[in-house]
Amino acid sequence: MAQLTIDDLRRILREAAGDVQDIDLDGDVMDLEFEAIGYDSLALLEAGSRIERAHGITLDDGLITEAATPRDLLTAVNEVLAEADAA
């Protein structure tokens, strides 16, 4: 199964929760905390459920809300995707 890229995540975040002000989401945001970018837990839950539906996977409780940065989130989601591939 395809891996989730930062561009995928940008697109999903925009669809799920709109564009943020003052920060260029297309810039280097990999290691910025979601809170600093302007996305709260609700935005991440909505993004998470879009990822789940798009990829037909289920993400554990907490996986989404405990990810502090886009890098954390991508790593965690891609692990689930890799497991789904292996299964």
């Binding site: 799920a16 564009d19 459920s49």
Partner: protein, 409 residues
């Protein structure tokens, strides 16, 4: 810390700011200019394809581009009517000269009226649920459709942490909300209350629900006319900023007028239809609360249901209080349609503007039945001093509310 404790129970409560989004005008000045000129905003439904339904007329707010007013982050989580409400609230506070960050957060409260919540948003999520399954329901559904959404979102937007509330009483809700806000200012639990209603459910699901009332007109909104065939629904409404008169004056606010009286009743149950409906009693209670007599009232803003028996009942109540053709009556909502929770709030705003400018706006597109004995202001606006206006509103279930606004001298 907990707001001023100085306000007494009988403190006069004034309106220091207005915000309006209406089908015949986005913003107070557009709305008021159109309303005085008799220019309506009812037309074919644009928000969805209504051609397959028995009625396809609505009052939709023109020229509203959410992106022009609201941050992108808010859009995925808000229904159309909440977006209208947020912008209307911004305008009301700005009109009052209030910058919330200059106030103590507990001194600012919000009470809104709601009817069906964010129904269009809700339709989208119900559609997702039934066509694709529960996992397709949005994380925002839990609050974007619910009745309390506007109070919550407005309080967040302006850091208003004082008393809060939401009332649901159909078209009467706008008055009930303002009355509840007035109570808070009077009791001193809050220095300032934002109140009123902005509403709308112009979506196919909302349409089907409203059609079930059997009160929508297929061919136009003509209250008090012999050919009255129901009303046209609309979207929008108004918010008002309420404060106690003294401190408002002290901070240099310029009040539109004061909320002088309020009364609310409920119609007898079906087995009691031989008993008098409750509207007259609501008017009497409001006059009593304001400490005035019918002769003091310069104009009545009618509920104007546009349904024969309801029009007759309202005309009878007005006649019983004021006498035959005893007071000018108007229903400018013929230009907007009936706005549910927004309806009566917009009427109060309209009444306050009538006081400000000495103009009674007209009731358009209707030819009142003489039997009703109403001095209905039809055709053109009537120029005359307005010191006291009575606003009437009724809900589908039997709610009757009456609110009196007076010139602030």
């Amino acid at each position: 810390m907990t707001g001023t404790k100085t306000a007494t129970k009988r403190a006069e409560v004034v309106v220091t700011g207005l915000g309006v989004t209406a089908p015949n005008g986005l913003g107070t000045s557009d709305y008021w200019a159109a309303t005085c000129a008799g220019v309506g905003g009812i037309g074919p439904v644009g928000r969805f394809d209504a051609s397959g339904y028995p009625t396809a007329l609505a009052g939709e707010v023109p020229g509203f581009v959410p992106e022009d007013h609201l941050a992108s982050r808010l859009l995925p989580q808000t229904d159309h009517m909440t977006r209208l409400a947020l912008v209307t609230a911004d305008w009301a506070l700005a009109d009052a000269g209030v910058r919330p960050d200059e106030w103590s957060d507990y001194d600012l409260g919000v009470v809104t009226a709601s009817s069906a919540g964010g129904f269009e948003f809700g339709q989208r999520e119900l559609q997702a649920l039934w066509s694709k399954g529960g996992r397709h329901v949005s994380a925002y559904q839990s609050f974007a459709w619910f009745y309390a959404v506007n109070t919550g979102q407005i309080s967040i937007r302006h850091s208003m942490r004082g008393p809060c509330g939401v009332v649901v009483s159909d078209h009467a809700g706008g008055l009930d909300a303002v009355a509840q806000a007035r109570r808070q200012v009077r009791r001193g639990t809050s220095r300032l209350m934002l109140s009123g209603g902005v509403d709308g459910a112009v979506c196919s699901w909302g349409w089907v629900a409203q059609l079930a009332s059997q009160r929508l007109s297929p061919d136009g909104y003509r209250p008090f006319d012999a050919t009255a065939s129901g009303y046209v629904p609309g979207e929008g409404g108004a918010f008002l900023v309420l404060e106690a008169a003294e401190p408002a004056r002290e901070r240099g606010a310029r009040p539109y007028g004061r909320i002088a009286g309020y009364g609310s009743t409920f119609d007898p149950r079906p087995d009691g239809r031989d008993r008098e409906p409750g509207l007259k009693r609501a008017i009497d209670l409001a006059l009593d609360d304001a400490g005035i007599t019918p002769a003091d009232v310069d104009v009545v803003f009618a509920d104007a249901a546009g349904v024969r028996e309801l029009d007759a009942a309202e005309a009878a109540a007005i006649g019983a209080v004021f006498g035959r053709r005893g007071v000018p009556v108007t229903a400018p909502q013929t230009m907007t349609g009936r706005l549910y929770a927004g309806a009566a709030a917009l009427q109060v705003a309209c009444a306050l503007l009538a006081i400000r400018d000495g103009i009674v706006p007209p009731t358009t597109g209707t030819d009142p039945m003489p039997e009703y004995g109403l001095d209905l202001v039809v055709g053109e606006a009537r120029r005359r001093p307005v010191r006291t206006a009575l606003v009437l509103a009724r809900g589908y279930d039997g709610n009757n509310s009456a609110l009196i606004v007076r010139e602030e001298v």
